[in-house]
Symmetry: C2
Subunit: 136 residues, 2 copies
């Protein structure tokens, strides 16, 4: 078990990819007019890719067109001061190939808000994660 | 009650600042070597400023020195597909004034990990938030 300088357990790539889909909500981190921006979204995985839905004209759709983004998922227990987080950095694109769209439509990904008829696919370049646990 | 184009309720500044401290964990969004980066941290408020702790030599401490950052807090109920998120955009700085440090030390902000002896203070320029609720 590898620890970082703060004593947090460094998760392996395999652990990151296993934990990632265990939560329904993640946070996409992007740049909007040169400013850091973040938006929570529900998501699912298409093999190793992260798939989210958004509205065609949204800030998120515009900002993530061929952009490098981060995507974060976490789960913490405030009482125990324990938990984990996984961050993927990757390339985002709007899916527009009809065959791909047909496959994405079949994913168990129901948008929580209306008008989210576009699919954004994030292909991971790197996945990193940490787990924190208090000494017993 | 103002709705955005996706039908989400737009929170007022007052609602954002009231909801912000209701969760113990937020996510600081910054730029690390020109790439989007995000890290969950426990935090508290010092009046309107967000205060977090980090280690002196950490990536977070280096990247947030006089930087514009975003800070996100959310709470979602996956069953009900409802919840809220608040994002603050502001200026981050390392606190180094002795009088300020003495005050920050007295805040109810216990680091979850070791070595987090630096205080980062984020002064909000803008706070935005959304609430999602399914029609009943």
């Amino acid at each position: 078990m590898k620890l970082d300088s703060a004593g947090l357990q460094v998760l392996t790539h395999e652990e990151c990819m296993r934990l990632l889909p265990s939560r329904p909500i993640g946070r996409i981190v992007f740049t909007d007019r040169a400013l850091p921006a973040v938006q929570p979204v529900n998501f699912c995985l298409d093999e190793q890719d992260i798939v989210i839905r958004t509205a065609a004209g949204s800030k998120l759709a515009a900002a993530t067109r061929h952009a490098v983004v981060a995507f974060e998922v976490d789960d913490f227990d405030p009482e125990a001061r324990s938990g984990w987080s996984v961050t993927v950095v990757g390339y985002a694109r709007v899916a527009d190939d009809p065959a791909e769209l047909a496959r994405l439509e079949s994913l168990p990904l129901t948008p929580w808000a209306r008008g989210r008829d576009h699919f954004i696919v994030i292909t991971a370049v790197e996945a990193t994660g940490r787990r924190i646990q208090q000494p017993t």
